[in-house]
Symmetry: C2
């Protein structure tokens, strides 16, 4: 996170190379220049989605109420369906699902360890915020894939029902336990740093790091703005 | 379990009331006389399926290999889809999903506690054996529901892909760790008692207990035969 803020402080110096950044208000910036090869994209994305599913399913198991269990199970279902769709892309491309994910499990497990949360509420907030961020991120990173795969993969990430379910459930929990808000706001702010680092590690950067930074930064600015809107939707200050 | 064996020892004395029991080889016996009202059926069945999902998702999280994780995630997906389909039946019938499940959570949680297993292998064997048993059981219990709901609910239970995935994964694990077989055989035999008690508690019995027993027993004999076949499929002696 410190690293990112250091970069952010240099922002005015960064050359504005990509014309599309002028269209920031109307066009989503993407990351097509930094998209890894399909096998790597799918291996990372599928395992990250499996991690999100694991956290949501822990959220189902530990829910303090049957209503919470029922609601979060829907979010878990959406997330495992996304994992399955990504796994099918791996199979379709001739890979083995486990083999494609294996090189990325250690780094994603470490990210998971850092963002899992100390209790059910933190787990749920993390699932809502990190899954939302990573869905946004991978959807933009997919833009550099071959067109056929890109369209299918963007469609996978277009399903935001899980996010809506978690938002509604969290709003309910925060209404029932207003004293949670301060702790959840701190937790939400902490998560963005680790999530950004996890996302950045999936970029295939060039030899020209300074130029890369200038191009990547506006995208991350948008991703962070979306993170802030997600926190706003819970009434938490980012 | 002891209770069941006591009943079994009286089997020859039991009056053979249902003509269909003559067709045992070709016709599946059902439990239509003991089907609870729709709301109770759905509440129990949906929560039991959620418990199966929770165990499978724990199986995903704790899998010792990425290949195991990938395989079991498919079984978890099938089970959450079954839960969702049952939850939709609750909504369709005008109930709330959490409200319908609530009266049955304590008993099913207790069943879960007893059958969860001490490690990943036991959890997986339990998920395979108890889910298979309960799918068989609820499919037969559904026969007494109104025709429209019955057909849709029987269709939910007809999906056995999850069972096949678990069987294949467990066969792989047992091949890799042959010393597990003896412990898993003991565990599988233990599970049948608790699973039968859980199933029996879902039956709506009449005032005539002796007559009920005589009618229920052949169905449970079939369910146990199916349990034995599931253990056979793992090379375990039931």
């Amino acid at each position: 996170m410190a690293n990112w803020f250091r970069r952010r402080s240099r922002r005015t110096d960064a050359p504005r190379i990509r014309p599309r950044s002028e269209d920031l208000a109307t066009t989503k910036l993407d990351l097509h220049e930094f998209t890894p090869p399909l096998a790597e994209f799918l291996g990372r994305a599928a395992y990250a989605q499996l991690m999100i599913f694991e956290n949501l399913s822990r959220g189902v198991a530990n829910a303090p109420t049957t209503a919470g269990k029922a609601a979060i199970s829907r979010a878990a279902e959406v997330s495992i369906a996304k994992h399955r769709a990504l796994a099918e892309e791996i199979t379709r491309s001739g890979g083995s699902v486990a083999g494609a994910m294996e090189p990325y499990t250690a780094a994603i497990d470490e990210f998971d360890r850092r963002t899992r949360g100390a209790d059910w509420y933190e787990t749920l907030v993390a699932a809502y915020l990190t899954a939302g961020f990573l869905d946004d991120f991978y959807a933009r990173l997919a833009s550099g894939l071959p067109a056929t795969e890109r369209d299918r993969i963007e469609a996978i990430y277009a399903d935001r029902e899980g996010e809506a379910v978690l938002r509604d459930q969290l709003n309910q929990e925060l209404a029932d336990n207003p004293r949670l808000a301060a702790r959840m706001a701190v937790w939400g702010r902490r998560l963005v740093g680790d999530t950004m680092l996890a996302a950045r590690s999936a970029l295939t950067l060039s030899a020209n790091k300074k130029s890369d930074e200038a191009r990547v930064e506006p995208v991350f600015t948008e991703l962070i703005a979306a993170h802030t809107r997600r926190m706003d939707a819970l009434g938490l200050t980012a």
